[in-house]
């Protein structure tokens, strides 16, 4: 019996093995060329746009590597026509078997075409807010602000509401401000506008907006809306409430908390109220000390 290795040597020295090797090298060259061409094209056509760069890179890699693979297969004696026909039948079978993936791929193509967001944008999808890391064949990858990696299938992206927080250059900060019923609303308005005027991050134009919201249970409610550059949105949202509180304190404007008045009907006498502490302080002094103090 021949040892297995002579068979092996026979095989690898045959011209057929050489062809296979050649084909493998060809595919390797295709992949490398595709990558190089992708990087070059991306640098040429999409210097700043991360998303376009990604698409160019992928297209050139798949295209060039695919051509090289086809040529390598042809050299090996495969008939591409037959292969493609077989692929057609296979597609139907695979399509049924992998409906989800196929729908994700198609959705991904639509996402790339519609461009509701680009790589680097901040988006909010069904409660998840994060920065878009990549838009791939099957899913969109997000990095949330607490540094978690979130993968959202393209199909979900297409079906659900997506909010792009970075699409427009300016944003509005909406604050709910409640003031006590006794306050002069004109003065409140003036104070609020002055606060907006003083804050340099708050845009002068579009002008700040004060909207009456309603007579609430314990406060008159207003919506105070100021504009900021999208990048300064958080800074303004954090600085404006502090400044409103300071200005209200300065002008003696009360921000009320829920009040409850007890009323027993008009027929009864007022509630008897008895004071238990002797002094003006909220906590009565211990009786021993008080006695001593009186003796002195």
């Amino acid at each position: 019996m021949e040892p297995w290795w002579t068979l092996f040597v026979d095989y690898i020295t045959s011209p057929r093995a050489l062809d296979v090797l050649q084909a493998a090298i060809k595919i390797g060259i295709g992949v490398v060329l595709g990558r190089l061409a992708g990087n070059g094209l991306a640098r040429l056509f999409a210097d700043a746009d991360a998303q376009r760069a990604m698409i160019i890179r992928r297209a050139s890699l798949y295209g060039i590597a695919g051509l090289f693979t086809a040529s390598a297969l042809m050299e090996l004696g495969f008939d591409l026509g037959v292969l493609l026909g077989a692929a057609g039948i296979l597609t139907v079978a695979i399509g049924f078997a992998s409906q989800t993936s196929a729908s994700n791929v198609i959705s991904g193509l639509f996402l790339l075409g519609e461009r509701p967001f680009a790589v680097g944008d901040i988006i909010r999808v069904s409660g998840t807010t994060g920065e878009v890391l990549s838009i791939d064949l099957l899913s969109v990858k997000l990095r949330t602000f607490d540094n978690l990696f979130v993968r959202i299938p393209n199909e979900t992206m297409i079906k659900s509401e997506v909010t792009n927080l970075r699409r427009f250059p300016i944003r509005r900060v909406d604050l709910q401000v409640g003031v006590a019923y006794k306050e002069d609303l004109r003065q409140v308005r003036e104070v609020l506008l002055e606060v907006a005027d003083r804050n340099p991050l708050c845009l002068e134009e579009p002008p700040p907006l004060i909207l009456f919201q309603g007579y609430g249970d314990s406060a008159i409610n207003h919506q105070f809306s100021v504009w900021a550059k999208t990048e300064n949105f958080l800074d303004l949202r954090n600085s404006i409430p502090v400044e409103i509180k300071e200005a209200f304190d300065e002008h003696g404007i009360e921000i009320p908390f829920p009040h409850r008045t007890l009323y027993t009907g008009s027929e009864t006498a007022p509630f008897p109220v008895q004071s238990t502490s002797q002094g003006p302080g909220p906590t009565p002094e211990p009786p021993d000390d008080a006695g001593e103090a009186r003796q002195d």
């Binding site: 427009f168 250059p169 300016i170 005027d197 003083r198 804050n199 340099p200 991050l201 708050c202 845009l203 002068e204 134009e205 579009p206 002008p207 907006l209 909207l211 919506q223 809306s225 504009w227 900021a228 550059k229 300064n232």
Partner: protein, 286 residues
């Protein structure tokens, strides 16, 4: 110790200064105060934080330079001032002795709003004098490196454009819209831009706001240390909402003898166009 006289306003606040090691200097320009301190291996730049514009009056007109200051003054600063000071440190193998404190124009366009709308009838042309707050640049003279720049007054931000979707991020300032040069108060921390507006259209032009492209303007100083920029000419042609902007070369005619001390921040583009003058649509509702 040589200290420049604080009340002598004949000397400008800008210009080169030589500081020995372990000494500092103080520049009071308008509402801002800036300190520089040099050690053998670092430059320290302190300035009062412009975060609270209410603390200082934007029109405060001061210009004082004191140097050299001993290290104790600088060390005592944070406690003495009782205010938020921003400190930046720049380290070198060996610091150069000479620094230059320079005025510069704002890094974004400035939108000026006259206190009362100004109407320019058809066929008229007027010259408005607008003043804008300057930035203070600290440069190393020998290596011509910019250490830091701080605004002499932090102007409020604003948005200038046809809608909330497109437009330009600008600074906002209010102007009295003075038409006579003699009425314009001279302020050390502001530069004057003559703005010539020509209304060639058939209807009157209501000037509600105007955008000055200050980042494309150069800064000039007269022998009496007044700061000027180039003249900006705006022409409104018939059937046109906005105006064509043109930046005239050289110092303005009001200050012929002025010398250029600062080039424009950005090269000026041909055919700057602005859709200026009127309020920005009604897109900002609730």
């Amino acid at each position: 110790m040589e200290t420049t006289d604080p009340d002598d306003h004949s000397e400008p606040w800008w210009g080169p200064v030589a500081l020995d090691e372990e000494t500092g200097g103080r520049w009071i320009v308008g509402p801002t105060t800036l300190w520089l301190y040099r050690t053998s291996q670092e430059w320290r730049v302190l300035h009062r934080s412009p975060a609270d514009p209410t603390a200082t009056d934007p029109m405060l007109n001061r210009s004082r330079v004191s140097h050299p200051l001993p290290p104790e003054t600088i060390a005592a600063l944070p406690e003495m001032e009782g205010e938020a000071l921003e400190t930046s440190r720049y380290s070198f193998r060996q610091t150069e002795a000479r620094v230059s404190v320079q005025p510069a124009l704002a890094d974004r366009p400035v939108v000026s709003r006259p206190e009362h709308p100004l109407h320019i009838p058809s066929g008229e042309s007027v010259t408005l004098y607008l003043s804008t707050a300057l930035w203070i640049q600290v440069r190393l003279t020998a290596s011509d490196r910019l250490l830091q720049e701080v605004p002499s007054f932090r102007m409020s931000d604003t948005w200038f454009g046809p809608s909330t979707v497109e437009g330009e991020y600008c600074y906002a300032t209010r102007t009295a819209g003075r038409l006579q040069l003699e009425n314009l108060p001279r302020r050390y921390h502001r530069a004057i831009t003559p703005l010539r507006i020509k209304n060639a259209a058939s209807d009157a032009l209501a000037l509600e706001r105007v955008q000055l492209p200050v980042q494309h303007l150069a800064l000039y100083t007269t022998p009496t240390h007044q700061l000027w920029t180039q003249t900006v000419a705006m022409t409104r042609s018939p059937n046109q909402d906005g105006a064509d902007i043109q930046i005239r070369n050289g110092p303005p005619s009001e200050a012929q003898e002025a010398d250029r001390i600062q080039p424009p921040r950005a090269p000026s583009k041909k055919g700057l166009f602005t859709s200026t003058f009127s309020a920005v649509g009604t897109l900002f509702g609730s």
